[in-house]
Amino acid sequence: MENIKTKRFGNIEAGNDHFIQIRDGMIGMSNLKKYILVESPAYPLMFWLQSCENEIIAFPVAEPYFFKANYNVRMTEADKLSLKYEQGDRIKYFCVLTIPENTEDMTVNLKAPVAINLTKGTASQLILQDKELQVRCPAYKAYTNVLAQIDEGNDQGVLVAETWSPINIIERGETAELSAAV
């Protein structure tokens, strides 16, 4: 186990199952390559893609299906190579959220999803060719609609960091897709 320093969640213990290698880094941040996915129970739709190499770097991410039910990703050969993708590997997609001071103006980047190869523990931020997909797609309404359907809560009032191994992500993803379809 390794101790990862984070600004938002304090110290997090993470093991090999939790680490996500982003070979080329996030776009514009090619020097940071090692991440973990952190969840806070009070925010059931959101994860934080936290850098292990820089404590202040953490991207809020959510599944694209909340914002676009028929979200479809076509990976290029270059994308597959950066993910070390082989047939049969399980891939999960997350989109980066931008939450400005006025929360209602929050947007989601549907154009450049982060693909995580759950089988290999690799990830890559893709750029999709589809011209319909926006870099700044309004997200507040869709997000809070899905949120309103979720009945469980965490009353602690304190953020509790929790790391997710790839297997947990799969389970979570499947239920999330169901609630998005409601």
Partner: protein, 79 residues
Amino acid sequence: MLVLTRKIGETITIDDNIKITVVQIKGKQVRVGIDAPKETKIYREEVYTAIQEENRAALNSMSGDLEKLRTPKVKKTGT
């Protein structure tokens, strides 16, 4: 920046494995064809820049007000 003049159908070779060919010129638009190793990522510059900027903006989300994004139950018992 190195500037070269090319005619339709002519190519520029970069290193051993990248070739850029002028395919068509139509008014102010130029269509170029690119041959590169399959691991090479090729993007339109303005799209790449927009995503770079958006990633930076996303990193500031931490300082925003996330209260409205919590679970309903937490919101009710919040204050």
